[in-house]
């Protein structure tokens, strides 16, 4: 063996070992034990970092899942039950089943049904509008149509329908993260159970005015006539402040209430059409899907709406 080789071996070994000891010490000092399961859980997560679970990011949620004794309080709305089952399997914990939910827009006051009584000319932002006044229609409660919810949705699951001036939720894309619910200054959006076969019934109105006033301002407002309340055998409907609300936990989707509503304020989604009925307000969820399939332009439109540049 030549000198060079020997020197090489000696120096490298010496430096190597010294370095190794230092690095070892470092590793020992710094490495917080990271449960390998955190990585596994994280891998399973959608990694959207949307915050819908209540944690700042998916990784934090994963950590929490690993730490928690049970998963009762932990739920990733984006991944839904299936994901939680996977996570539970990884961690060998039980997952609580949560009914899948979807965002619904509780206002049907399209341009057609709810005439404008003035022009809004402020910043295109629902909260600013709501702070200033009740909106450009007579309904003090209804959608302002400036799309703050659409902007808030990180999943491109919403767009503004130019025809109606109302936001539309694209059911398939909605992850029920609730961002839109929090964004809307008028509390119009609600997360509701998706329902069996994605069918659901709800009152698409939150107008708490007396019937006459409500009706004057919007043709499809709930006027609190109590007809639906009486019709419902399951006590699923309550009326408060002249406004009906259907409790989705009690509703059995019997569809009795919808036809009796004199203003068509109750929406039925994804049901097969009833032949005898007069055509209703176009079912928005279905409309959304139809259009989403046939006409991608709308999606583009939604995107444009989403784009801060496009809005200026």
């Amino acid at each position: 063996m030549s000198d060079i080789v020997i020197y090489t071996i000696i120096t490298v070994s010496a430096i190597g070992v010294v370095a190794a000891i230092i690095l070892y010490l470092a590793a020992q000092k710094f490495k917080v034990y990271e449960d390998p399961r955190i990585d596994k859980v994280e891998e399973a997560l959608p990694l959207a970092n949307c915050g819908g679970c209540g944690y700042p990011g998916c990784r934090n949620f994963a950590e929490e899942c690993v730490k928690a004794d049970n998963l009762d309080l932990l739920f990733c709305p984006v991944g839904g039950n299936e994901l939680m089952k996977t996570v539970a399997a990884i961690l060998e914990k039980d997952a609580v089943e949560k009914a899948p939910q979807v965002a619904v827009i509780r206002c049907s006051g399209s341009f057609e049904h709810r005439p404008k009584i003035n022009n809004y000319d402020g910043a295109s932002n629902c909260t600013i509008n709501a702070q200033l006044y009740s909106g450009d229609t007579g309904c003090e409660y209804g959608c302002l149509g400036l799309g703050e919810c659409v902007d808030a949705c990180t999943f491109d699951a919403m767009y503004m329908d130019e025809q109606t001036g109302l936001p539309v939720v694209i059911e398939d894309k909605c992850t029920s993260c609730g961002d839109c619910v929090r964004a809307c200054p008028k509390d119009i959006i609600e997360l509701r159970n998706k329902g069996k076969k994605d069918r659901r019934i709800f009152v698409s109105c939150i107008n708490a005015d007396k019937g006459g006033v409500a009706k004057k301002n919007c043709a499809v407002a709930c006027i609190g006539c109590t007809k639906c309340e009486k019709e419902c055998k399951y006590d699923a409907i309550v009326i408060e402040n002249f406004l009906a609300y259907i409790d989705f936990n009690k509703c059995v989707l019997c569809r009795k209430c919808a036809p009796v509503c004199p203003t068509n304020a109750i929406l039925e989604i994804n049901f097969p059409p009833k032949k005898e009925r007069v055509p209703k307000v176009e079912d928005k969820g279905v409309l959304a899907e139809k259009q989403a399939d046939e006409n991608t332009n709308l999606i583009e439109l939604a995107k444009k709406n989403n784009d801060p540049e496009a809005k200026g």
Binding site: S2, I4, T8, T11, S13, G16, V17, A20
Partner: protein, 195 residues
């Protein structure tokens, strides 16, 4: 991964020692192996440059190399005499200049015994691509203008400074440095270099 080695101190030091030993030993041998070729490659490069700038020779100019102190303190020029059957046919001179645009530039200047320029090669430079680097033969034929000139009547200064060297457009500095290096080679050769 059943048989994973445990992290005891003994294991660790041992493992590292082994890794270090194996790596060092193999490197050592590879070094020995490549040592020859590396040196050869360097030599080949030098010889190629020498060959380019002097007439055909029969000796080994590298072996006959001698150093001559230059006008810059502490720096010497390497002279590679080329003999064709014991007759000096030319000398390749490794010269330099600090007047370049960035860093020192090194040239191999081939002078015939009378001091006229046979050919020049750029050995090392860090001039700007597209500007100063036009002095190297691969980029442009600017340097051809020196070939066959004798500095006695070919003033090694750019035209701007009253000499005869046509500067590279927009790279007067590099041109100046090039000329400066050639002049250094010429002067040193004429004063002390002839052998």
């Amino acid at each position: 991964m059943a048989s994973k080695t445990e992290s005891t101190l003994r294991n660790m030091v041992l493992a590292l020692l082994i890794v270090a030993l194996v790596s060092a030993t193999s490197l050592g041998y590879i070094y020995e192996l490549t040592k020859g070729p590396i040196e050869q490659a360097k030599l080949a490069k030098k010889l190629a440059a020498i060959q380019q700038v002097v007439p055909e020779f029969t000796n080994n100019p590298n072996a006959d190399m001698y150093k001559v102190p230059s006008d810059v303190e502490g720096d010497t020029l390497e002279m590679y005499p080329a003999y064709n059957n014991d007759k000096l046919v030319g000398t390749a001179i490794k010269t330099f200049s600090d007047k370049g645009f960035s860093k020192r530039i090194y040239l191999m200047v081939g002078l015939l015994p009378d001091g006229s320029i046979k050919n020049i090669q750029v050995l090392e430079h860090a001039e700007t691509p597209g500007l100063g680097d036009k002095m190297s033969k691969t980029k442009s034929d600017w340097s051809e203008q020196f070939n066959g000139k004798n500095p006695t009547d070919f003033s090694l200064k750019v035209t701007k400074d009253g000499g005869k060297v046509n500067a590279i457009t927009a790279a007067t500095i590099s041109s100046r440095a090039y000329a400066d290096a050639v002049e250094r080679a010429y002067k040193t050769f004429m004063e002390h270099g002839k052998k």
